[in-house]
Symmetry: C2
Subunit: 122 residues, 2 copies
């Protein structure tokens, strides 16, 4: 018998502190649910083959896009369309849930010191 | 230029009142993000070909499984594995976010008066 347990977002968030380094908390078919803590300016990048779902859990996340920007407060979400350059920016620490296919790199097509190891479960 | 806007979960939830009738608020590739209001006992069913992600936003959702049950409070999530019979139950009204591939019927393989129209955007 498989043991089934709920996953508590606050509990998972309490287990790491580093910024810009998504942690995987669940899988849904070939998609992963990740949590990340963000502060400052990320790098401009895109994901050529996939959309990317951001759900803001705490704080304010601004997602800069080529011609505009979307500001996410807690309880708000946004899907960055595939192939669209974007840059997440948070003036103060914010916490987000990300959902995207397994294997997506946080910096997309951009090599950066902020490129995080993939598939880090917590 | 495409206009990009955030999606506010509370705003979307304020736009409908009916129970067990998921509303689509966003798409992520071929997946849909849905909101639903639940109260009472749903029907036992399964989704043969896909996992199903439940995120509890308000209230308490109990997901009954063949050998156990998982209780979700606000800020908690659970992925029902494909092919596993389950029955959502909520003693009081609860609000959930669901993520699953486009085309999934809420009652899965079970025909029921609770089978909701698919692809209802809000």
């Amino acid at each position: 018998m498989t043991e089934h347990r709920s996953i508590n977002l606050s509990d998972k968030l309490s287990l790491f502190r580093d910024l810009w380094s998504p942690r995987v908390i669940a899988e849904l078919n070939d998609y992963q649910v990740k949590l990340a803590k963000l502060q400052g300016e990320f790098v401009w990048h895109q994901h050529e083959h996939t959309d990317e779902l951001f759900i803001c859990l705490k704080g304010v996340l601004r997602i800069e896009l080529p011609d505009s920007a979307v500001e996410l407060h807690a309880g708000e979400l946004f899907v960055v369309p595939r192939g669209v350059e974007h840059r997440p920016v948070a003036n103060e620490e914010c916490h987000v849930m990300l959902i995207e296919p397994k294997g997506v790199i946080n910096t997309g097509d951009t090599q950066s010191g902020l490129s995080a190891p993939n598939d880090q479960w917590i």
